[in-house]
Symmetry: C2
Subunit: 216 residues, 2 copies
């Protein structure tokens, strides 16, 4: 699969390296394509438009407050028909919410209606995103999006990062991206409490004994 | 311990029954103290002020949008020196945030400075609150608050509900209540995805192998 990653920060580089190692063709798009590419990978950094042009899947790993403007500069026609895997969080740097009552994922889907948006991975640190088996047990990754085919594509890419099928929880349509993005506040609290950003979140279900005949 | 629970809804009743069964003296406070008490428990429903008057610990299990006004009607002097265990969530019924950029927990602490507030339990369903072993594995409960002694009291009460010490994660001061409350959006998404409100959240740490020498 051809993947164009927007964002040259730690998240974009970690994902690029992992998908490249899994055999995908990965380009990182940047407004400054002469910056140094990730170490020890075959990933190249190119102009934003070039990373999008050849991609089947575009990954938004830019700061959430800049994402809409950046993608608008690429333009809706260039994005049409491609899957947009959105890892961004719509919070400002001051900790305030920049997308009150909604989410960056929803805003992207509304702005680019011909581009199916799938929000995922924004509840975990980049080092966990690409190494789920570094944790002491199984954890959960969430998916939000309106397009089932796009979600299936994203499931495959998550599998390539090491996430087994039963670790993925489909929350529903793109409006549920709100919950994933608002989790960043609890993420920060947990990281402070643990003294580490490297943790996962596992949804623990009712035991079989209790689930039998239980009301929802 | 003497516990005064404010809120006669499902959450208040579930907690009242469980703490009563653990041997505490529990009163539920209500503006309509003639309503029927919880079944099969020794818990009585009394006037709000009476439930507060004799309590060591006051539990706020009222709707988050009504909590500040209700506690203000009780009055800061009546609450002074008591621990306020706050289970409320500061969201309106329409799903909007009523406490943007902060949390109900912080607002309560600011409004009642002589009453140490501890936010906990608001990330899980009432049936899980009082039966953590109904889940298929261990899960995590969070604490936020500025007063270490009050937190210790709350830890004891959580233990009495069945939460072992290693299931409790102290996030830090009361400002971290924000993360717990904002989680309610992801809670709803997970519940939709699972088809059940009865689930827990486990913070999964790095494996020992990976934690050794890892950067935070």
């Amino acid at each position: 699969m051809r993947i164009g990653i927007l964002g040259t920060g730690h998240v974009g580089r970690a994902l690029a390296g992992a998908w490249c190692a899994a055999g995908h063709e990965v380009l990182i798009g940047s407004r400054a394509p002469d910056e140094a590419p990730p170490h020890d990978t075959g990933v190249r950094i190119v102009a934003t438009a070039d990373a999008v042009a050849t991609a089947d899947v575009v990954v938004n790993a830019t700061p959430g407050t800049a994402s809409v403007a950046l993608l608008a500069s690429v333009g809706a026609p260039a994005l049409a028909g491609k899957v947009l895997l959105d890892v961004g969080v719509g919070f400002t740097e001051t900790g305030d919410l920049s997308h009150l009552g909604e989410s960056l994922g929803e805003e992207l889907q509304r702005t680019f209606p011909a581009t199916p948006v799938v929000k995922t991975l924004c509840t975990i640190d980049r080092l966990v995103m690409v190494a789920p088996d570094s944790l002491e047990g199984p954890s959960t990754v969430f998916l939000s999006g309106d397009d089932p085919t796009a979600k299936q594509t994203v499931r495959g890419l998550l599998h390539d990062l090491g996430w087994p099928p039963d670790s993925l929880l489909d929350l529903g349509g793109i409006t549920t991206a709100r919950g994933q993005e608002h989790f960043s506040l609890l993420f920060i609290g947990i990281a402070e409490g643990l003294g580490s950003y490297r943790f996962g979140l596992r949804v623990v279900k009712l035991s079989e004994e209790h689930a039998a005949g239980a009301a929802p």
